[in-house]
Amino acid sequence: MIGIGIVKGLVQTAKNLIGTYTDKERLVTIEYPEERQPLTEATRQFPFLVYDGDDPMKGLRCTACQICEKECPPKCIYIVKSKDKRVDYKGQNQFYPAIYDIDYSVCMSCQICVEVCPFESIKMDTAFELSTADRFGGLLVNKHQLAKSNTHYHQIHPTEAAASDEAMNLERAKAAAKAKADVEAKAKAAAAKAAATPTASPEASPELPKPAAALPKMPM
């Protein structure tokens, strides 16, 4: 009969109405600014630059290699290389970014910059409350705003940060081993030089691998 279904439906919604007042389980809404859902570890919003140590600008891992700038699909990264060089975490002399800007309004959070970065320097952040009153410049962030400490990275993505640190330590160890090898080689060479002064010139070649090891990274 017409009407029975209507009454059933009305009873159902009435149960909902009363249930929301008696049973808190029914109200699944999180009232956002006051209550927050804990972010999962997989959360990724926009990229940031990782630095080590205390001084953000000095500890910036970025070497301004510009791979991310070239790979970025919406072209939202803008980098200007520095004129001078400084020592990076591996102890090598590297450039550093004089300007590093990301336009968050253009960024599509694809994470490709993170994938391609060889220096573990750009990572995805979890901050999402980025609204601003300025439509044009408000979301264009510079390196000072982008720089966040490794501690922060450990806080938001602990697993990934540990992996990243491990990779860096490996690199560092490699570099240290190489440096040690270099030093030993140098010492050997010096010893050899000292031992046989006239026949020193053909033995100078072991010094060359250092620039050669840097070379494979260059052609992009």
Binding site: M1, I2, G9, Q12, T13, A14, L17, G19, L27, T29
Partner: protein, 416 residues
């Protein structure tokens, strides 16, 4: 308590006395107008918030609960929302489409709101409280005024030059025209019984005491109950409320006939819709639920206007409840319901009223059972035949899918 019952009437008289005798009738009219223009939009403002909160609760959501007093932490459980909405719609840009017919586009919302106020003014909202009393034609006036709604819907839909507007307007007009017939026929039962078109008389007739403790509301009779249900359904359709909100079906027609309206004119449409709902609820209350009278005699001390507004609010809550429950009808279902179910039931109800009228001397029990059988039997039959057409739908290609494996073995034969 009689003083509290008549407090507004006395207040108006006192206020009118302050003016010179020449102006007194005009001041009286003005006061009534001001009262109506203040009270019902106030209820409208309240309803918008209550509706949103309740709809949210029906769907297990908290609903609006933030807007309170600005610059303070007081939230008023979200009841400041209507002020925020009002300010927003008043300050929004008023957009008129380039191809629109500007004059008609401009007039349409007013054609909706002004008659809605007029319709509200004939309602007896309390003892001796009727702003515009037509002793001969009150109900007819209400239905005549209701005709302007269709005109407004058409004007809005046509002048916008938008396919959704026009579709919504056409649906709306077809729906309102179809449901006006059950609406008028079901209210005709009361007119037949009371013998008057005046809403005041109809309400007064329902204040008589029956069996010593309750007032003889029309809904407490078989024909009155059937008429009330029919009227309620038709009223739902006339007020464009879910499940009959096809004219503004937001999931298919953007917003129906007021798609192209924004800002103040949109607010007027919104107001007009709700005022129409209040007016039709008020008429339902006056016709079937005893108007301003209390249900039981021992509750007579409560002021009459409080009863009216209490019932009005109950109606509003019921409409919200329906909106939170029922899905929207399809156009053909809508028309079928009006013409093939409600119209025959209304005509039958008219017959039952006649029977009821002429069996006044009979035994109460016999009279009741006769009327109930006359109504319930055909209702059962009608709804059976009606529901037979609403079997779960089958889809041709979905039904064919078991045949697909039969086709598959044939396919390898093709190369041979």
């Amino acid at each position: 308590m009689a003083s509290l019952d008549q407090i507004f009437v006395t207040l108006k008289e006192q206020l009118v006395q302050l003016f010179p005798a020449v102006l007194q009738p005009y001041v009286g009219v003005l006061l009534s107008i001001v009262a109506i223009m203040a009270v019902f939009p106030g209820i409208f403002a309240l309803t918008t918030v209550v509706e949103r909160k309740l709809l949210a609760r029906f769907q297990n959501r908290p609903g609006p609960n933030r807007v309170g007093i600005p610059l303070t932490k007081i939230r008023l459980a979200g009841f400041g929302q209507f002020a925020a909405d009002g300010i927003k719609s008043l300050t929004k840009e008023d957009i008129i489409p380039r191809n629109a017919d500007r004059k008609v586009h401009f007039i349409a919302p007013f054609v909706l709101v002004v008659p809605a106020f007029l319709a509200l003014s004939v309602l007896p909202i309390g003892r001796n409280m009727t702003a515009l009393d037509f002793p001969e034609t009150g109900l007819l006036f209400f239905f005549a005024i209701g005709a302007a709604t269709e005109l407004s819907v058409f004007m809005a839909g046509w002048s916008s030059r938008n396919k959704y507007s026009l579709l919504g307007a056409m649906r709306g007009i077809a729906q309102m025209l179809s449901y006006e017939i059950p609406l008028i026929l079901s209210s005709l039962t009361v007119v037949m019984m009371v013998g008057s078109l005046s809403l005041v008389t109809i309400v007064e007739r329902q204040t008589s005491v029956q069996w010593g403790f309750f007032h003889s509301w029309h809904v407490f009779t078989p024909w009155g109950f059937a008429g009330f249900l029919l009227f309620l359904t038709a009223a739902c359709a006339e007020a464009n409320r879910t499940p009959f909100d096809l004219p503004e079906a937001e999931s298919e027609l953007v917003a129906g006939y007021f798609t192209e309206y924004s800002g103040f004119k949109f607010a007027l449409f919104f107001l007009g819709e709700y005022l129409g709902m209040f007016a039709i609820s008020g008429v339902a209350i006056s016709l079937f639920l005893g108007g301003w009278s209390a249900p039981f005699t021992f509750l007579d001390w409560v002021p009459s206007w409080l009863w009216f507004f209490g019932k009005l609010f109950a109606f509003i809550l019921f409409f919200i409840w329906l909106r939170g429950t029922l899905p929207r009808l399809r156009v053909d279902q809508l028309m079928n319901l009006a013409w093939k179910f409600m119209l025959p039931m209304c005509l039958l109800n008219l017959l039952v009223v006649g029977v009821w009228h002429f069996t006044a001397e009979w035994n109460e029990l016999l009279r009741w059972s006769l009327a109930t059988v006359l109504l319930a039997g055909p209702y059962w039959l009608f709804s059976r035949s009606f529901e037979a057409r609403f079997k779960p739908r089958t889809y041709r290609y979905a039904a064919d899918s078991p045949a697909a494996p039969v086709v598959a073995p044939v396919a390898p034969q093709v190369p041979i």
